[in-house]
């Protein structure tokens, strides 16, 4: 029983990541009816921005003197890094194809995904290239700038695994013989806080109302004076920022990040969004936690290697029973 509770806590932690990422999938689907397959990589970019920020903060000693502040700054940096990436991706890769066939957008999304992975991998190469630009004997940048560019790009990305400093530690509180680490508590709290904020934003603010209107019917919303492009940008901003938060927390928790780290969580979160009912915000949250819990419960009863098999079998059965997802509405037309 004690072990089962421990596993449930594990499941909720993993579920928090899935849920945060799934929200981005579901929101984009809600307003554009497209699957943003680059979302997992936008999440990865957030993790890299967080890592970059926290290494810089660690250099000036802030992670030692005030770890909580350092974590908050890293979370904000990661969220903004992802959000801006999301907006750029939408502007450059999706908006020109908005009236094209769905397959064209899908291919564009897959291309973007590979582009982002390789970009992060090759950042140091670009850095040294830019730093070495010269016209004849004259360098474009003074030497101090060149070194700074090379250093910064090396700290940011590269093919190697990047490591977050171990700020969170492995300590925790013990409740009735069950160890719950502070890092898990932080992850679950931050995830829930952001989900509540998102829900309030969508339900209570004017932007949220506009987003719901665009999701309901883009053309009519435009006729009612809603700036559809701006709302879509906002949606990408918010969805990507949540992925960025998840990315930074994943880095803080698991310590290692790499250019391909977005793939598995991306696929799992996508599944979570579909199971919860794609296009539906509470559905994505529910789907995320459900997937996390199914995974750990299966490990409790079967060898760990069956984890993914069990999770996906359960999900397939669920979708056969209810193809629109748990909270999805019938007809496939999404409403945020």
């Amino acid at each position: 029983m004690q072990k089962l509770i421990e596993q449930l806590i594990n499941g909720l932690t993993v579920g928090s990541f899935y849920a945060l990422i799934a929200l981005g999938y579901t929101m984009v689907y809600g307003v554009l009816s497209m699957i943003n397959f680059a979302h997992g990589d936008i999440f990865m970019v957030g993790a890299y921005w967080g890592c970059f920020t926290i290494s810089k903060l660690s250099d000036i000693g802030l992670t030692e003197s005030n770890p909580a502040l350092a974590i908050i700054i890293a979370l904000i940096a990661g969220a903004f890094g992802s959000a801006i990436t999301g907006i750029i991706v939408e502007r450059l890769a999706y908006r020109p194809l908005r009236n094209a066939s769905r397959l064209a957008t899908l291919i564009s999304a897959i291309g973007t995904s590979i582009f982002l992975e390789e970009l992060v991998r090759l950042v140091p190469t670009f850095g040294s290239f830019i730093a070495s630009i010269h016209f004849g004997d004259k360098n474009l940048f003074p030497e101090s700038w060149s070194t700074a560019i090379i250093d910064a790009t090396k700290t940011f990305g590269g093919a190697m695994v990047k490591t977050y400093p171990g700020i969170l530690g492995t300590e925790g509180i013990t409740v009735g013989g069950i160890v719950i680490s502070y890092s898990r508590i932080m992850i679950m709290t931050v995830a829930v806080v952001f989900m509540i904020l998102l829900y309030m934003l969508v339900r209570l603010t004017k932007t949220g109302k506009a987003m719901r209107a665009v999701s309901e019917d883009q053309e009519t919303a435009a006729l009612m004076g809603i700036n559809v492009n701006k709302i879509i940008s906002n949606t990408f901003f918010i969805g990507s920022a949540l992925a960025g938060v998840a990315g930074v927390m994943m880095g803080l928790f698991y310590l290692q990040i790499r250019p391909l780290m977005g793939f598995t969580p991306g696929i799992k979160a996508f599944t979570a969004a579909v199971v919860g009912g794609i296009g539906n915000i509470p559905g994505a949250m529910l789907g995320g936690y459900l997937l996390g819990l199914i995974e750990v419960i299966s490990v409790q009863f079967l060898p760990a290697i069956y984890k993914d098999i069990v999770a996906f079998v359960v999900l397939i059965i669920m979708l056969i029973v209810k193809p629109t997802g748990i909270l999805g509405n019938s007809g496939g037309k999404s409403k945020l």
């Binding site: 594990n10 492995t170 698991y254 310590l255 290692q256 790499r258 995974e295 490990v299 290697i305 993914d308």
Partner: protein
């Protein structure tokens, strides 16, 4: 209607496939005919590597140069690079190292092998780094008679296929498992062990070897679990494996996941011994990536530098790349073995080309003991070393400290 459609499609596809097979078989025969003529004319039954003047001799290096295990792969590339610098030229021909990124996986490793085998100036290949790459790739190297010396693929089957051009200069996993079990059982007094592996040829192979040997030694294995390479969350496996309350956990796998696992084990309250194979012997990607949790962890490692010439190597290596991580020195030795043997058998023909007979090169490598910076390297008939040693290391602070050395085959 639809049935007929399916039938026609199946028929078409089958015809196309047959046609494709037929044509490719014909192409192979055509290609093979002149090659056979050339071989018949030549004395060396495997043919020759012919490098014209002005071209560079190429030394291949197959390792993971991106993603999770790139720290190891880059270390190997650095080792081979230093070897080529130290070696200088081959009878006046410049040598260049070509790194192939096999990602420590099978399919990309085969692609790298095919590229290397197709390069007419390829004198030999250092690597592949991982056993899971080496096993499929060595069929390509074997078929094309390209020398392959791996400094790091420790899985037992690597030298078992009987290729005369495949060599390994590190102790295999059977011996690593033996050392790990002996050290845990006799030195640390561990009697109950939980085993986790990454389900790769390497990780699962060594984990199973440890399980068998630990049980044979009289210990109890309380759990045997697998995880997936590239995963980050092992908390569910951690909870399951700790249910058996083992005194020690053995990890069969690489540094990236090994660091996450030890971190999550410690976070779950595990205070016992953490033991792993050579896959976790790395300073940045295991010790630092574990966030301090690797403190006190043990690992076995075969290719320890320190023999004659090591100091000089270390100075040269560190000046360019920082401290070697794991298989840099082994990679240096592997490159040196290939280049020295090539120098011994190479001749310059009447047209001014550098000519290296392939079979003679392999025979030279097998027959010539080499005193490298990782020790005395002498091959047996399988291409494995006759004499090997394995060192047990412990992570202490930011250093890996040698604890005990085991010698085999003396």
């Amino acid at each position: 209607m639809s049935k007929r459609y399916v039938f026609i499609s199946v028929l078409t596809i089958t015809t196309l496939l047959l046609a494709a097979c037929g044509s490719s078989a014909a192409a192979t025969e055509e290609a093979a005919a002149p090659a056979a003529d050339a071989e018949a004319a030549a004395e060396d039954e495997w043919g020759y590597i012919t490098v014209p003047a002005g071209e560079k001799v190429v030394l291949g290096l197959s390792s993971a140069l991106s993603a999770g295990y790139a720290a190891y792969g880059q270390d190997m590339l650095n080792g081979a690079t230093v070897a080529v610098q130290d070696f200088g030229d081959l009878n006046g021909w410049e040598i260049e190292v070509e790194g192939g990124d096999d990602q420590c996986e099978g399919a990309p490793g085969v692609t790298v092998a095919e590229q290397f085998a197709a390069n007419p100036y390829m004198v030999g290949v250092v690597g592949p780094m991982c056993s899971g790459t080496a096993i499929p790739a060595m069929d390509i190297y074997g078929e094309h008679h390209v020398i392959m010396i791996t400094p790091s693929s420790t899985a037992i089957p690597v030298t078992a296929a009987g290729y005369e051009n495949v060599f390994r200069i590190v102790a295999n996993d059977d011996l690593q498992a033996e050392v790990a079990v002996d050290y845990m059982f006799n030195e640390l007094g561990v009697t109950t062990l939980g085993i986790v592996n990454d389900q790769s040829i390497y990780g699962q192979g060594i984990a199973e070897a440890v399980q068998t040997k630990f049980e044979a030694a009289g210990g109890t294995v309380t759990g045997f679990e697998g995880i997936t390479r590239g995963d980050q969350d092992f908390s569910a496996v951690v909870s399951t494996i700790l249910e058996g309350e083992p005194e020690a956990i053995y990890w069969g796998g690489m540094d990236a996941e090994g660091a996450l696992l030890v971190n999550q084990l410690r976070a779950a309250g595990f205070e016992g011994v953490y033991f792993g194979p050579d896959g976790i012997k790395s300073i940045p990607s295991f010790v630092e990536a574990s966030g301090g949790a690797a403190e006190g962890a043990y690992m076995t490692f075969g290719a320890v530098g320190g023999a004659t010439g090591y100091e000089e190597f270390l100075e040269n290596f560190s000046a360019q790349f920082g401290d070697p991580i794991a298989y840099g020195p082994g990679s240096y030795d592997a490159a040196m073995i290939i280049l020295n043997a090539a120098k011994a058998v190479a001749t310059v023909d009447s047209d001014g080309n550098l000519v290296i007979p392939k079979k003679a090169l392999a025979d030279m490598i097998r027959a010539t003991p080499f005193d490298g910076i990782t020790g005395h390297l002498e091959f047996d008939e399988n291409g494995d070393l006759k004499v090997v040693s394995i060192t047990v290391f412990q992570a202490q602070g930011n250093e890996l400290v040698p604890m005990k050395v085991y010698d085999f085959g003396q």
